[in-house]
């Protein structure tokens, strides 16, 4: 017997429309031949053209890419180690430190890192942003890797050890290849989180460096033009591509954790 009533369908349809209409509108107006995000005037690629000639946007994009690649590379290594330690050794203090940055308000992490870097004499800029991003990405990688380890057949590693492999060889030749999809999915997740981060970057960037989200923020605050729509559309495409790769590599990564 179906327990799905018509009003439920109507409410769900409304919810999906609510989730997608704003994004569709952003994308649609990126092709609109008008400065105002109001009436449809005609189709154009002007805003994309303008975007690719916007010096500040390009610098922001380059910085974001550099930060995302560096932060995801380092946090993948550290996060994989953390996930492994949490799974194998039940390291309690590590577990607390890994999960706390995810649980506390983001703004707290942003302002505390700001104080820390200023007191430590680190000039705010690319370095402070990368160091901060690594700190919040480790936890996400660790969770994904630990989940993958939990689903792994423990006896394979044990067999390798029984056959005389050192722990490092057993890890490198047996465990690591098996958890690789989790590691890659964690890396992609870290990259996405880093590229998207606004709050922590906002506090740790200083005046030295700008990223794509910071640049979008400035544009949204000062002058709203469809150039923002154009950069948004491109960012959405990038994220979508990364998600497709991640789901291919590790089905279930995007499910509720």
């Amino acid at each position: 017997m179906s327990r799905r009533s018509p009003w439920m369908w109507a409410a769900a349809f409304f919810a999906y429309a609510f989730l997608y209409a704003p994004l569709v509108i952003v994308v649609a107006y990126s092709f609109n031949d008008s400065r105002l995000n109001a009436e449809w005037v005609g189709f154009t690629f002007d805003w994309y053209d303008r975007l690719f000639h916007d010096e500040k946007m390009l610098i922001g994009a380059r910085n974001s890419l550099f930060i995302g690649l560096t932060a995801s590379a380092v946090s993948t290594v550290l996060g994989t180690m953390a996930g492994f330690a949490m799974y194998r050794y039940k390291a309690r203090l590590l577990q607390l430190l890994v999960l706390a940055p995810i649980a506390i308000p983001e703004i707290l992490m942003g302002v505390s890192l700001l104080i820390f870097f200023v007191l430590a004499g680190v000039v705010l800029g690319l370095t402070s942003i990368v160091l901060s991003h690594i700190a919040f990405c480790i936890g996400f990688v660790a969770i994904v890797v630990r989940a993958r380890l939990a689903g792994m057949d423990e006896s394979l590693t044990e067999a390798a050890r029984d056959l005389g492999a050192t722990p490092w060889r057993a890890f490198r030749l047996v465990t690591l290849p098996l958890i690789m999809p989790g590691v890659v999915a964690g890396a992609l997740m870290a990259f996405t989180l880093s590229i998207d981060d606004f709050v922590i970057t906002f506090f740790t960037a200083g005046i030295g460096a700008s990223t794509l989200p910071l640049q979008i923020y400035t544009m949204v605050k000062i002058s709203v033009t469809p150039e923002v729509n154009a950069v948004s559309t491109l960012l959405m495409l990038l994220t979508l591509a990364l998600i497709l790769i991640a789901t291919r590599l590790a089905p279930g990564v995007l499910r509720a954790e």
């Binding site: 799905r4 609510f18 995000n37 109001a38 430190l97 703004i107 707290l108 505390s112 994220t239």
Partner: protein
């Protein structure tokens, strides 16, 4: 025999530190230390030109540690900040309620759909969440702005019944719409996770006993889903409480929240001790609520 066990466990312990050491060290330096420094900063004096005053002062009697409760005193003596917290509380609560109203029917529909459709329906809820946060907030500038097709149509309709044109953007209303939009998936997912586990036989039994559709929902489904409701409410309420970008972009001067004042203390006024006090109160409230939610959820399960 004992020595063999020791011989085995010593390299084991070494491996443990080799593996957990580097991430532990990193998080101690770049997470735990900054937070502790901020806790300490809340007891320090503000510097003359912003930031912090020196921790020690030197005079003829020696070095003096300069710690003070002034910033806490200021927080608790000025009703402005209590009101601001209350207002943020109200915005976050309103967000949780609206999210619940939108998410519940959706989660119920997904949970009662054929198994093969569920994953894709859940994925469709999460997908927008992966687009950039600022983009999702920006979209509402377009939709709620005075030029928008939606607002002009709305004002046209209101004009027919004699109500003056309304402004939506840069109001508390816009802030709550933005908060709901950004946090909706956090409500849908725990609700779905709960509703999916319900045994349909319970509803059949209720029906056999003469319960109508409304009674079946209100007396069977809803009470059983309460742990999901609490989890969702916590996952929406807690992050919504500390947000600053949404009121900053959509709220105008009227719609500011506690996060905006924290940002202001650190970047504009540069009164770090007071900013630290505000951040700590916010975190205490958020962590306290998360703990309470976890406690309620555990009791519900028993």
């Amino acid at each position: 025999m004992g020595s063999t066990v020791n011989a085995q466990s010593r390299p084991e312990r070494l491996h443990k530190w080799l593996v957990s050491g580097p991430p532990l060290l990193y998080l101690l330096v770049f997470f735990a230390a900054p937070v502790l420094i901020m806790v300490l900063a809340s007891f320090r004096n503000p510097g003359d030109f912003g930031g912090l005053a020196p921790l020690f002062t030197q005079d003829e009697t020696g070095r003096h540690l300069q710690l003070t409760l002034d910033s806490y005193g200021r927080f608790f003596s000025d009703a402005l900040y209590a009101r601001l917290f209350l207002k943020s509380f109200f915005y976050a609560a309103a967000t949780a309620v609206v999210c619940l109203a939108i998410a519940y029917p959706l989660a119920l529909l997904i949970a009662r759909s054929p198994k093969r459709h569920r994953d894709i329906m859940v994925l469709l809820v999460i997908l927008p969440f992966w687009s950039n946060f600022l983009i999702r907030v920006y979209a509402w500038i377009i939709i709620l702005g005075p030029q928008s097709v939606f607002v002009r149509a709305l004002n046209g309709l209101l004009g027919l019944v004699g109500i003056g044109p309304v402004t939506l953007l840069y109001t508390p209303f816009a802030v709550i719409v933005g908060l709901v939009y950004v946090h909706l998936p956090f409500m849908v997912l725990p609700l779905y996770a709960n509703l999916e586990k319900h045994d349909p036989a319970l509803l059949d039994a209720a029906q056999d006993l003469g319960a109508n559709a409304w009674q079946r929902f209100w007396r069977v489904t809803f009470p059983l889903s309460l742990p999901g409701v609490y989890a969702g409410a916590a996952l929406v309420f807690i992050p919504a409480l500390g947000i600053f970008a949404i009121p900053d972009i959509l709220g105008g001067t009227e719609g500011i929240m506690i996060g905006n004042v924290i940002k202001q203390q650190f970047l504009d006024t540069r009164d770090w001790p007071f900013g630290s006090v505000l951040s700590m109160v916010l975190t205490a409230v958020a962590v306290g609520l998360a703990g309470a939610a976890a406690w309620v959820a555990r009791r519900q399960r028993v």
